[in-house]
Point group: D2
Chain length 277, copies 4
């Protein structure tokens, strides 16, 4: 017996759950866990079903294809460990958290490689026997720099690219090579404090809470669909530097939580929003 996850997106229609679960039943697949959601605004239907049994992927998906509306799509995902490439600049906390959680089993993922525009984090990465590539952006045009990174990233055929405090803006050209496959951690509770120095902005505004946002990257770095957000309370004792320090804990917590949901195929993109089942 195997376990697989069925992912379905479709225009909403009557009887979708019945049709899908009928086909699971017909194939003698046991439903371990099931979630679905209808967006009554966009009339889109999303369903995630963990199945157990003996799978014939081809006939199963063909049956679904016959039963569901034309514009729908279904994927059957095996429970193999997914592969990521992590991109970093100089800060260790997000990378360190992913490395440690992959090591101790809290995060079920294969870290294929880490790519940094500085070599600062090479020695940390290599402690865990993971290849580190330094691709300096110095004296390179942005396009050249990105082309070098793309070349390296692609050779690892990652399921996802994780920006773990990669501090350079990516061009649309880079982004479109990994559509909905790039996850970024933004160091603010978006949409507040978009842009540079969010902790200084938070200090200046005197907020009593700071947060972080994990999102898919689209053409505009801070505007992609939000996967997860988390906050912590702060007070007048926090300088801008203290805010940044405290923010690190939230940043890594948010990024690994979002990554975990993505790796378990729980995150659907729904326009500029996400559905997390």
């Amino acid at each position: 017996m195997e376990r697989k996850t069925l992912i379905t997106e479709s225009p909403d229609a009557k009887g979708l759950i019945a049709k899908i679960t009928n086909i699971c039943y017909k194939h003698q697949l046991n439903i371990i866990h099931n979630n679905e959601f209808v967006d009554h605004a966009s009339l889109r239907f999303f369903m995630r079903t963990e199945l157990e049994g003996y799978f014939n992927d081809e006939t199963f998906l063909a049956d679904l294809n016959d039963a569901l509306p034309d514009a729908s799509s279904s994927k059957l995902i095996s429970s193999e460990r997914k592969r990521i490439v992590i991109m970093v600049t100089k800060e260790a906390h997000c990378l360190g958290d992913i490395l440690m959680k992959a090591y101790d089993g809290a995060l079920d993922v294969e870290i294929a490689a880490v790519v940094g525009n500085y070599d600062t984090l090479a020695s940390l990465t290599e402690k865990f026997d993971i290849p580190y590539h330094t691709v300096s952006h110095e004296s390179l045009e942005r396009e050249e720099h990105e082309a070098k990174i793309v070349e390296i990233v692609k050779q690892y055929e990652p399921d996802y690219v994780v920006l773990a405090k990669y501090m350079r803006v990516l061009t649309p050209n880079f982004v479109k090579q990994f559509p909905h496959k790039i996850i970024n951690i933004h160091h603010s509770f978006l949409p507040a404090f978009i842009g540079a120095k969010p902790y200084q902005q938070a200090f200046d505004r005197g907020v009593k809470i700071i947060g972080a946002t994990a999102h898919f990257v689209t053409d505009d770095l801070d505007e992609g669909p939000i996967i997860h957000q988390q906050v912590i309370p702060v007070d007048h004792n926090f300088s801008a530097k203290d805010l940044a320090h405290a923010g690190r804990d939230v940043e890594k917590a948010v990024l690994t939580k979002a990554l975990s949901a993505v790796l378990e195929d729980k995150v659907f993109v729904n326009g500029n929003r996400t559905v997390v089942l």
Copy 2:
């Protein structure tokens, strides 16, 4: 078109979701929201489905009855406002919160009456034009006292009885008249600090968090299935009295949140645990 909620409990079996959603489809009922849960330990299946359409309750339930295993049960619940009777002693905060939320629409419920063993909360209750019954326990045997309360409560035919800081222990005889229909707020994060003076106990132990627990009442007051729990951080500045004061906010938040879930038919009893769909 109407909206109703279908509630199903059953021994687990293959194809249950398919069978139930097929019947919904056959009856041309649209699934607005659906949740289900299989307890893989007890092999029990729980499902809650919000439906929209034109209902023929009798044939719909008959179809379900035919399709589902023998020991299963299904209920189709209309969206009519439910009726509660609240029991109190002297503290105003939980009663006050329910009164206000029922008044401003945050809680969709009809408060049929309030019964107290003191008259302390009569004037608060009557501000909202709700009948208040004082049933003093003084000079009465426990059984006599409870019999008087039962008589009053029953005449209102409540869907649920809410113990909003009713500070007397109920006998099994009282409880069995309202099986899984009595909701209590316990002023501690159960199972810690069971029994009297939980805030003094919390102070003595020097805990850094206090909480409250809403649960169904079974024969043993503090041991019924937990519906909801919530906590707040505290510190060395809190005296036992401060803890009690701070605890009130959590108590009322937990009670109204639990009550809200129960009123929306989201809470299933699963042995001594609950499933909240």
Copy 3:
């Protein structure tokens, strides 16, 4: 023996705590609780000291005045219950929460009156035997309308004016009559979603957390010093309407928490930020 709270603001200087506590000691006043904060950016010093003993306010403050730098200020505040006037429009939840908490003792405050631009909340207010004034804005210029409100508010001589979902923008002229005395609840986690329809904005952006902000009102309604903020997690199941509904709980929690801190003289204005001791 009496209890009073000493509030001191001063440019920072060496020995301030020693000077202030020396004078308390000299006057045989016992320090029950003490907090102070130095803003190392603005070099401002803030101190809040709860004292117990026999007070001679005049000589005590004169001693402080002699000892502290020229630009400092000290106030000795008796523990008398403070008086507020609440301004509302149509939504009941924030007003209801303050009424109930004042009633049950959770909030130690005298609600002198409620002023609304509609009469929607008159009956709720009057349940608690508090005068309600309807001052309709219809067919009035903004200045005329505000002048009528100011006249009513001032006759109650409130310590603070609380905007409990008062949905009209106040003019600088109104604001300057109650400097740092007006507390507003804004229905978003400022600075995100400034302006109208924050819940629709939050929905459109697909955020996973919503919040509310209590702040002092300055000339610009949403830009005054923040007193308190709180958030709740939300997800894809929340429509814009659900967000608004869920937001009400946060709004009232934030407003009463901020109000409570202000009433206990814990909140200092520090430029556009607050210090909450």
Copy 4:
């Protein structure tokens, strides 16, 4: 100029803050941050003052000694990095978190060594160039085993011993060698679910929240003064195993937060409670 932290404990008396801050002023020491607390139950006074200036420790402490009551004690602690020894069994998550946070600077500490009763975590420890000592308990009496550990730990002269999921009960004899110097993480929200298998107990009771507790170790492993506690919400979807898995994140967060407070000299033991300034 140097920074040091003054730690004072004393029976409560009038004028203590004045006396202490006077002496700071006399020595031309600037108060950067100050907190104090009086336990009105035990009549104990606790104060923590961050000072900046040119220190003459001897005369400063002598002045304090003269000014303060007999039974008081003062310590002046330099800002040197403190040293810890970590004790573990097999689980990596707490050790990993401390290693990573010491590496990336989030935790300002020197990890002198790790001691485990298995060699499971040797390779993780050694990635960070920290010595790992395996002291197997097999075929040893408890006292012999502990004696071996004590010998190793003592040679590193640690400021604190951190039990990062060390799963063996320590004898009073061990504990008394490091009075108030041993910090343990207990995998439950104490005092609920004391003892073995707390997550199975939590599952059986059907709680909706789980937590973890960091505390100083006294003679009874689960009964020492609590330093910090934290919780996370759980629901019916969590098996006992899922609870344990989710609990790991709380355990490490609680342990590192408690450790951080202890390392900054913020934690005072007050009977069986703590004061965290």
